[in-house]
Symmetry: C2
Subunit: 394 residues, 2 copies
C-alpha cells in the first residue's frame, strides 16, 4: 500500500516496461544470484540478455543455471502478484535501487563463490524507498536458539540503534533476528527483513505477523520471486544481502556452527566491520561469538555506542578525477591511508587505522573515498591498492 | 616447615652470610622495588652497596629512597623472624631465585616507572623451591567484587590449569584471586600467592587460613620484609611480580577501574600474553575485561585450553654463541621471526606470528631464544631488534 506499491517503474527512461519484464523474467529463471548472468547483462543489457536466455544463445557457463526454468516466463503474472501483495519489484533501473550498497558485491570474485553477485532484482514490501531506508543501517543477527541474555542484549542494542535513526537489518529468523526486528519496531524505528524465500512466503511461518508489521513501516526484501520456498543454500545467499544492505554486522549470540558466521564472512568480504557481542563463556549460545573474536573475524562490542564507533557514518569526500600519479594528489588523510596500505597484499581497516594513526571511522570513510576513486579495493583479506587506477565515480 | 624452611643460604659461596645480611638490610631500607639501588648493587656488589647506604655515600638518586630507614639494620632479627614463621628469604644468590623470571624486569626502563626493577629479595613461605614452582605458571587474577559467574569460571580455568601441572599465581585478594588459589588447592595443584605486605601479615585478614594453606603446599611470596603493612602503591608493585612469576596473565572479571588492568600492563611490558575472559555485557564485573579485549590490551580466552594456547610451554633452543652477523646464522624459524621484526620500533607477538606465518607458541618460544641470544628484547610496545647484539646466555 506504500508509495512504491503499484509496481510503477520509477526513474527508468523509455523501454522501462520491457526492461522491467526482462529483469523479472530473469529473476525467476535463475532464482537467486548468478554471477554469469549478471556479467552477461552487464555486457549486452538486460533485454538482450533475456532474449539470449529465452533462445538459449548462451555461453556454456549459463546453460546449466538457466536450463530448468528458461521456458517459464511469468513476468507479468509475477508483477501482478507482487502488486496484489502491496509490494513491488525494484530493479537496478530504479531510483530506489541501493546501488551504492551493491558496489561491494560487484567487486567480489565470483569464481570463489557463485553467490558473489549482485541480485538481479529485489522484491520489496514496505512503504519507503529501499535506498533511503538502508542509507544508515546496521545488521543485527544471531542464534535461532537465543538465550534470555541474548534477547535482552539484542533488545538493548537494536533498540538503541533504531532510536538513533539507524535501520536494523536482519533475517526474520527465530531468536536474535526476530528480537532485533521487534526492538526496532518497539521504538518506532525502521527495520528491514531480508528473506531467503519469495516475498509472499512468511518464513518462519510463526513470524507471519512480525513480517507484516515490518512491511508496514520498514521493508521486507528478497531476491526470490513470489512463490519460492526457502532452501538451505538460499540462506547463505540471503546472508550476503543482509551484509550488503548494512554498514556493518553485529552478531549477538552464535552457537558453534552458526549461520551468523556466514553473514560475518560476507561482511568482511565486503570490507565492512563484523562485530560480535560476548557473553558468558559458560553459554553455548556465545561460543561462536567468542570464536569469531578470538580468530580476528569479528571485533568485540558491548553496546550500540561501540557498534557505531565501528560501523558509524561514512563521510565520503568523493574525489572527482583520479590524478595520473594518485599518491601525489591525495589529501592529507587520503595520503596517510594510502601510504598505510601494503604495496603487496591487503590489510584490515583496524590495522590500517593503527598504521596511519587515524581513528577507525575516518580510516573507513577515507578508504571508501579512495575506493570510489578506484585507487583501492577490498576483498575478504582487507583493503588493497588496485594495481592500475580504474577511474573515478561510483 | 619445608625443606627451605630454615633460612639457610643455599648455593652461595664464601661470604654468604654477609651478603645475605646485606640483601635483607637493603630490603628493609627501601621497602619494595628501587631501580637506583638495583643499579648500584649491580655495579659494586650487594655488600658494598649496603655499606654505601649505611654510610650515605650515595648518588643523589639514592639519598631520598634510603633516607628514612638507612639507620635501621634489623637484618638478623628479620631472618630470625621469617625463620620462626617457617619461611625464608630468597636472594639473587640463591639457587631457587627465579632468575629467568626476573630477566624481563631487568630490561624495563626504570625512568618510566620506579617499580620497573627486580626485587632485592623475596620473602617466601612454602615447602618448595620458588624457581621450580614458578617454572610453569599462569597468573589468574580479577575483581574483588566478583560474581557467581566469575567465581565459577575462575574455578574451571584455574582448576584445569592446576590439574595439568601449571602453578596458579595470584594476589590472594577477595573474589577472583581467592577463588583461583582455592581452585588450585582443591585439585591438589600448586598455587603461589604474591602479597603487597610482609610475609607475616595475612592480607586480607579473612584470608589468613587460605594463605596458611597456600604456604603448606605452594608458596606465599612478597618482597616486603616482615611487619610491613600493605599500602596502595605496594599493590601496583606487587602486580609486576605476579606478572613476572608467570608465563601469562588471565583476567577473569574486572570492573571499569580494576587493578587487574595494571597486572595486564606489566604482563605486556614483560612481553607475556595478557588474556581476558569475557562475560555478559550486562555485568559491571566484566566491563574491564571487555575493554581490554577491545583495546587490544588482552586477548579473549574462554577456557584453560585457550589459555595454554597463548601462554603455553616455551621451548627454548638456547643458541650458544651469537654469530657476528646474526641474521646469517639463524635457524629457519629464528630467521623468519627475526625478519618479521621491524627494523625500527617494536611489534607484539601475535602480529609477529602473523608476519612470520609461524604459530603463536612457536613465535613466543623463538622470541625467547632470540632474547637469550641478545638479538631481540621487549618492552611494553612489544619485541624489537636490539641495535647491537649483547652476547648470549641468560
Amino acid at each position: 500500500m506504500g508509495v512504491y506499491g503499484n509496481g510503477v517503474a520509477s526513474g527508468s527512461a523509455g523501454g522501462g516496461d520491457e526492461r522491467r519484464l526482462a529483469w523479472v523474467y530473469l529473476s525467476r529463471v535463475v532464482e537467486g544470484p548468478c554471477a554469469a548472468l549478471s556479467s552477461l547483462i552487464e555486457s549486452v543489457g538486460v533485454v538482450e540478455a533475456a532474449r539470449a536466455v529465452r533462445e538459449c544463445v548462451l555461453p556454456e557457463a549459463l546453460r546449466g543455471p538457466t536450463e530448468l526454468r528458461r521456458g517459464i516466463d511469468r513476468a507479468e503474472q509475477d508483477l501482478a502478484h507482487i502488486d496484489r501483495l502491496g509490494g513491488r519489484v525494484v530493479t537496478p533501473d530504479d531510483d530506489e535501487w541501493p546501488a551504492w550498497r551493491m558496489l561491494g558485491l560487484r567487486q567480489l570474485d565470483p569464481s570463489q563463490d557463485e553467490a558473489a553477485a549482485v541480485p538481479l532484482v529485489l522484491w520489496v514490501r514496505g512503504p519507503r524507498s529501499l535506498r533511503e531506508c538502508t542509507e544508515k543501517a546496521v545488521a543485527v543477527v544471531g542464534a535461532r536458539c537465543s538465550t534470555g541474555y541474548g534477547n535482552h542484549v539484542t533488545g538493548e542494542i537494536a533498540g538503541e540503534l533504531a532510536v538513533r535513526g539507524w535501520t536494523v537489518v536482519s533475517g526474520a529468523a527465530f531468536g536474535i533476528d526476530g528480537m532485533a526486528h521487534r526492538a526496532a519496531l518497539a521504538v518506532g524505528g525502521t527495520t528491514v527483513a531480508v528473506l531467503a524465500c519469495g516475498p509472499d512466503r512468511p518464513y518462519p511461518v510463526q513470524h507471519d505477523r512480525l513480517l507484516a508489521e515490518i512491511a508496514d513501516t520498514g521493508a521486507v526484501v528478497t531476491e526470490y520471486p513470489p512463490g519460492t520456498s526457502a532452501r538451505k543454500h538460499y540462506f547463505l545467499a540471503r546472508n550476503r544481502l543482509i551484509a550488503a544492505l548494512a554498514d556493518g554486522v553485529v552478531v549477538v549470540e552464535a552457537g558453534a556452527r552458526s549461520g551468523a558466521r556466514n553473514t560475518v564472512k560476507w561482511s568482511r568480504r565486503l570490507g565492512r566491520p563484523a562485530l560480535a557481542v560476548p557473553g558468558p563463556v559458560t553459554s553455548a549460545a556465545s561460543v561462536g561469538c567468542h570464536r569469531m573474536i578470538r580468530e580476528g573475524e569479528a571485533f568485540l562490542v558491548t553496546s550500540a555506542d561501540e557498534v557505531l564507533d565501528e560501523a558509524g557514518p561514512l563521510r565520503l569526500s568523493l574525489p572527482g578525477v583520479v590524478p595520473p600519479n594518485p599518491e601525489d594528489n591525495l589529501s592529507g588523510d587520503e595520503a596517510r591511508i594510502y601510504a598505510a596500505l601494503p604495496t603487496v597484499g591487503s590489510r584490515l581497516p583496524r590495522s590500517i587505522a593503527d598504521g596511519s594513526g587515524l581513528p577507525l571511522p575516518a580510516t573507513r570513510a577515507t578508504l571508501c573515498a579512495l575506493e570510489l576513486a578506484g585507487l583501492v579495493a577490498c576483498d575478504e583479506n582487507g583493503w588493497y591498492r588496485t594495481a592500475q587506477p580504474k577511474g573515478g565515480g561510483a
